[in-house]
Structure formats: C-alpha cells, structure tokens
C-alpha cells in the first residue's frame, strides 16, 4: 500500500469526491491559487478550476454562511478554515444555521456540508490560533464532529463526511499533516461513529483521538517496555456520533481507564466520556477515571512551556502509573 502523508490523504479524498460528484466544491482562504495555507488542497485548483475550487476573502462568517445556503440548495460545500480558531468569528453560522436549521424546519432542510481545518496547539502561535473547539461543536445537537489521527482514517472519514447529509466538522492538525501512513489508492469510506482499536491490551485502556492518540500509543509502548503494563488504545476517530460501545467494551476488559486529549479539561471531550463511563460502567472500574488533557490555561506561546501544556508521554505515563 502506498505510504503517503496526512495532508495528501485528505487531498486524495477531495479529488475523489470532486471527480465523483459535480455538486462538491471547495472554498476557503488561499485554497486555490496558493494551493492552501498548509498545502492540503495542492493542485486541486489547477485540476478542477475556479468554479469548484474557490479562494475567498477573509470573511469567515460570510463564506461559512454561504456554505450553509448552498448546502440547503443541494450542493455539497467543503469549507476550509485556515484554522478552526477562525471559526469563532463565524460561530453564528455554524451553530445557529448549520446546526439548527434542520431541526427548526421540522426536517425539511438538510445542510450537507463539511467544515474543516486544523484545530491544534503546539506550534507557538499563541492562544488565538491554538483553539480546539471540538467540544463546543460536539455540544451542538445537529452537528457531527470527527477528529482522525492517521492518514488512512483521514481519507476514509473525509469521503464519508462529504457524502454525509448533515454538517460534519472535521478537525485536523497542522502537526499531523506531514505524518505518513499506509493509504489505499482510490476511494474507500470509514463510517462515522466507529472507533478503532489501535492497540490491544489487558491492564488499562487509553481513550484518545487526534494527535493525542499518537502520544498515547507512544506512552503505551514505554509502559509495556519499562513497566510491563499492557495498554489498550482506543482511537475514537469520531466524537459525535460517538462509539460508546467501543469505550465500554474496553473499560470492561481492562477495568482501568485514562482519557487523553488535547482539548481543555472543563467540559472537554474527556469530561463527557468520563460521565458516560461513570454512568454505564461504574461497576467495571477498579480505579477512578483519570484524564490527561491540555493544561487549563490559554495556549502559551513559549515553545518549551507549550510542550508541557499539551499531553506528552511523560505526563501520560506518570498518570497511568497512579491507576495501579
């Protein structure tokens, strides 16, 4: 199987769907002639032209809203946010319009749109460009949220998201764009709401998504090698819908659980998962549900401190050891 990076996997997904479905178009800042701020859309403008691949002015609220209106009319917009942090100036369009129109119209209107872009810290760009709003988005019934960690998952989930009849918020990560992995050529889909067991284990379950999944896998290896602890790693991939079954199955198997994500802890994704485990698997637990999240402060600029702020293997290992 070809070895390609995360951004190329996404690029292939766009090309597949743009070719397959005339109603798909891609819009955002610098996505066309510039090839994308992070080159995720490289070559698409040359191949599909200005009608399908569209550069916008810096007007997130307007082009997010345009996407909603076009989707109501049966098109399938892929709206790129250069950073998910920029969604905050267009939040009304995402939450009130993409998120609520189907409900408020009694099901008369669908909004089949993908809103995508990187949502991560760790790049020394300060708090305004480092937000991880997946919890805000997943807090809105009507929106779907996915956060793939690997190139394979990114391509399959992107194709599913574009074909989905609801709005999917697709959380990427600039630090993952260059990561390589095996990805089949051609089209394939991964259903939303299905987690993936990235590592089997018996002593403790790590539940993670996005870049934290890779950190969790690294920590799992060290725990096995240095402490003889067998870690199971569940990759959520999709946050809403959420594969509760996969979470509960793993907890029932290992009886210990550590939730790992780069989201902030207060009402973050891990807080929701902790609540689900407390409610549905309390009797299975041999230890409290613990979490490793971003440290609870705005994203700091200074590089060495920012590394501390996001979950790293040391913090994960230290926290995991307290479960035994």
């Amino acid at each position: 199987m070809p070895l390609i990076d995360y951004k190329t996997a996404l690029n292939q997904a766009f090309a597949e769907e743009l070719t397959r479905d005339e109603t798909v178009f891609l819009m955002g800042e610098e996505v066309a002639e510039y090839d994308g701020a992070y080159k995720v859309t490289k070559g698409l403008w040359e191949r599909f032209g200005s009608r399908r691949i569209i550069d916008t002015p810096i007007s997130e609220a307007a082009f997010l809203g345009l996407g909603v209106g076009a989707a109501m009319m049966g098109l399938r917009p892929i709206i790129e946010l250069m950073f998910w942090s920029f969604a905050y100036v267009g939040f009304d369009q995402i939450i009130n319009n993409a998120g609520c129109i189907r409900y408020m119209s009694g099901g008369l209107i669908n909004v089949p749109m993908v809103i995508r872009g990187p949502a991560n810290g760790g790049t020394s760009v300060g708090a305004t460009h480092s937000h991880t709003p997946e919890n805000f988005l997943a807090n809105t019934p009507g929106l779907k949220v996915v956060a793939p960690a690997t190139p394979y998952d990114a391509k399959g989930l992107m194709i599913s998201s574009i074909r989905d009849n609801d709005t999917v918020c697709f959380m990427e990560n600039t630090l993952l764009y260059g990561h390589r992995g095996e990805v089949p050529e051609g089209s394939y889909t991964i259903p939303l709401g299905v987690a993936d067991l990235k590592r089997e284990g018996t002593d403790v379950s790590f539940i993670a998504y996005g870049r934290a999944l890779l950190t969790a896998l690294e920590a799992a290896q060290t725990l096995q090698a240095e402490h003889g602890i067998s870690v199971e790693v569940v990759d959520l991939r999709s946050l809403r819908p959420l594969d509760e079954e996969a979470i509960l199955n793993s907890v029932s198997k290992t009886h210990r659980v550590l939730l790992i994500d780069e989201n902030k802890p207060f009402c973050g994704i891990s807080a929701q998962i902790a609540a689900i485990i407390a409610e549905k698997a309390f009797d299975q637990l041999d230890a409290p549900v613990l979490r490793v999240t971003a440290l609870d402060a705005p994203a700091i600029y200074s590089a060495p401190l920012e590394k501390l702020q996001l979950p790293n293997t040391q913090r994960i290992i230290a926290k995991a050891l307290t479960l035994f």
Binding site: S105, G106, V194
Partner: protein, 360 residues
C-alpha cells in the same frame, strides 16, 4: 406629492402594464390575509396561546407581496424573524403557520421552530431566521447555488434596517459583488431596530442603500407603500440579477404598527402615538392599494368587504385547526436533528448521537 400621485407614477412601467386585474386583486387579497392573520396572532399571544417572541408584519405587507408576485419558479427567497408575511405570500397555508405559532405537531416546522422559523423549501422559501443578519450570508449561498447550477433565477434576501450594522452584512455585500452573484438584498426599513431609531443606530449618507457604493453595487431606494413603484423597481433589479448576475441593494421604506415584537412593551415610548397614527392614516399600503384599485375600477367597495371577510374567515378556520391539532409527541424531540438518523442510513447504525435519556 400626494400618495395617490405617488402610486400612479410607476403605473406605466412595462411590468405594471402586464399586471392583470386578477393579479391586482390577488395582491390586495394577500395583503389583507397577512394583516388579519397578524392581528389575530396578536390577540392569541395576549391570550397566551402563542409563546416566545412574535414579530408582526402589520404595516409592511406590500413589500413581501410585491416581491413574491414577481418571483419566477427559479427564484429563491430568505428573510429574518419577521417572517409570517413572506410565508403567507409564498403560499404557505394559514393552518400550518398558525399551528406552528401554537407549537402544535401540524405546524410547518412540527412545532420545532416557532414564529421566527417558518420554512417552505418547496415554495423556494428558506426561512425565517432568528439572529439579526444571520440569514444574509445564507442568501449569498442561495444565489451562489443558482449560479453554480446555471439556473437563471435570482435570490431575494430580506433584512431589517437593524441588520445593516452587523459585520456579516458588509462581508456579504463584498462577496456578492466580487463574485457577481444573482442576489437582491432588500432592506425593509421600518425605522426602528427594536427600540432604537434609524437616526440613533446608523450613520448613513442619505439612504441605507448607499452602503452599496463602496462595494461597487447597484442600489435603489423605494417607497414601500407604493405598490406600482415596488413592482417596477424590484422587477428591474431582479432581471439584472437573473440575466447579468449582478447584485443590488435596495432600501424599501415601510413602517410597523406594532412593537419590535409583542414583548416590546416600550414601543409607544420610543415613538409617538401621532407618528403611528399619521402612518396609518396617510401611508397604509393596503389602504393606498385599495384606493388605487377603486380608482381604476378594478374593484368596488363590496369587493373589499368580501375579500376582508374571506380573510377573517380563513384566519378563524386556521385558529380552529391549530386549537384542535395535537401537541407534538415527546419522542419527536429527537427527530429532525440528524438526517442520517431519521432515515436510518448505514451511517447512523453505529455510534451514539444523543447523550441524554431518549426514552420519554
């Protein structure tokens, strides 16, 4: 210039030359239907049959009716929260609209949207939006989709005078002009953004439509009580949008008789009773249209009476329908959220979509 002269000024416009007597009467009928619907809604709100907010269109009826009368089957339309008039004008039934106000299962949105959120995509009507200016970029999207699909129609995007000071309005003017979208922005200027008068809310050069100037966009100010002028000028900009893909910004002057919403208890404090009375007496769009049609001999005084009677009866029947309709089932709280869940597609078979108890 008297109102009568005003009305006659655009009568010879080509689009008004092909305006048949039947269509003229239909316009009067639709305006009356809206007015009676709104007036009864007001009473029902006071009786607590209707909850939440209720933004009435009384005084502004001519705007939606004239615009809808000019729509082709390829045109699309979207508006803000003062949306009952537009809904009735595009042909939504009084029954489904009244039932929605009551929160009943038979409502146009099954009781899930309420007053501010009426939709009828089959009638090219895309709502009904509660957040000021929130619908404006959606209007862009409607126009974008028409152009993308190579459909020779235009999108009408209605907004209030208060919406022009939201950032997304300016962003949308820029995009519409930059990309040559077939879009008509229609500011229905009723003089007040909630309780703040135009003078206290907007810095303008003559007309709100002048906001188009910096965006290289055509603009026009229209007297909203002059039905012929409305038709003539709207028709021109709609044709420009349809055939040249050029957007326009219109300011249509109008007036609302009631408060911003019924909950607006202050509406007689921020404006005088004389101001309201003067408008009703001299500028009421239904009164002026009726006088014009009488003068043209299109109707007789008895026509007016029978149209009004029919409108009242239609509203009365709609109220009975709404009263008799069932409340939505508790289980319906969880439908119409995710299309995949509703149709039970493969995508919805795995994963949890709702995180509260769903068994009610």
């Amino acid at each position: 210039m008297t109102a009568q002269k005003n009305l006659a000024s655009s009568i010879e416009d080509p689009i008004n030359n092909v305006f048949t007597s039947e269509q003229k009467i239909a316009a009067l009928r639709d305006m009356l239907r809206i007015r009676r619907f709104e007036q009864q809604s007001f009473k029902l709100y006071q009786q607590e049959k209707i909850g939440g907010f209720l933004h009435l269109y009384v005084g502004q009826e001519s705007v939606a009716v004239a615009a809808v009368g000019l729509m082709s089957g390829a045109d699309e339309m979207i508006t803000a929260y003062r949306d009952h008039g537009h809904a009735l004008a595009v042909g939504m039934s009084m029954e489904e609209c009244m039932a929605e106000l009551f929160g009943k299962a038979t409502g146009c949105s099954k009781g899930k949207g309420g007053s501010m959120h009426f939709f009828a995509p089959d009638k090219h009507y895309w709502g009904g939006h509660g957040i000021v200016a929130g619908q404006v970029p959606l209007g862009l999207g409607l126009a974008f989709a028409l152009k993308y699909k190579k459909i020779p129609g235009c999108a009408l995007c209605f907004l209030g005078d208060g919406a022009v000071n939201q950032g997304v309005f300016s962003e949308s003017l820029n995009l519409a002009s930059l990309w040559d979208l077939p879009l008509v922005f229609i500011i229905e200027n009723n003089g007040y953004s909630m309780g703040t008068s135009l003078e206290r809310s907007s810095s303008i050069e003559g007309s709100l439509a002048e906001r188009a100037v910096g965006f290289k966009m055509e603009r026009e100010k229209i007297n909203g009580n002059n039905f012929y002028e409305l038709r003539a000028k709207l028709h021109n900009v709609m044709e420009r949008a349809r055939h040249q893909c050029k957007p326009s910004l219109l300011e249509i002057t109008t007036y609302r008789y009631y408060g911003h919403s019924i909950a607006d208890a202050n509406h007689k404090k921020y404006r005088s009773a004389e101001e309201i009375h003067e408008y009703q007496k001299n500028h009421d769009p239904i009164m002026l249209w009726e006088e014009q049609l009488l003068k043209e001999g299109v109707i007789t005084p008895s026509t007016m009476e029978s149209l009004d009677q029919a409108a009242k009866e239609e509203v009365a029947a709609a109220i009975l329908f709404a009263e008799a309709s069932p409340w939505p089932e508790p289980a319906s709280i969880f439908s119409d959220i995710y299309s995949e869940v509703d149709v039970g597609s493969d995508a919805a078979k795995r994963g949890t979509y709702f995180f509260s108890d769903t068994r009610l």
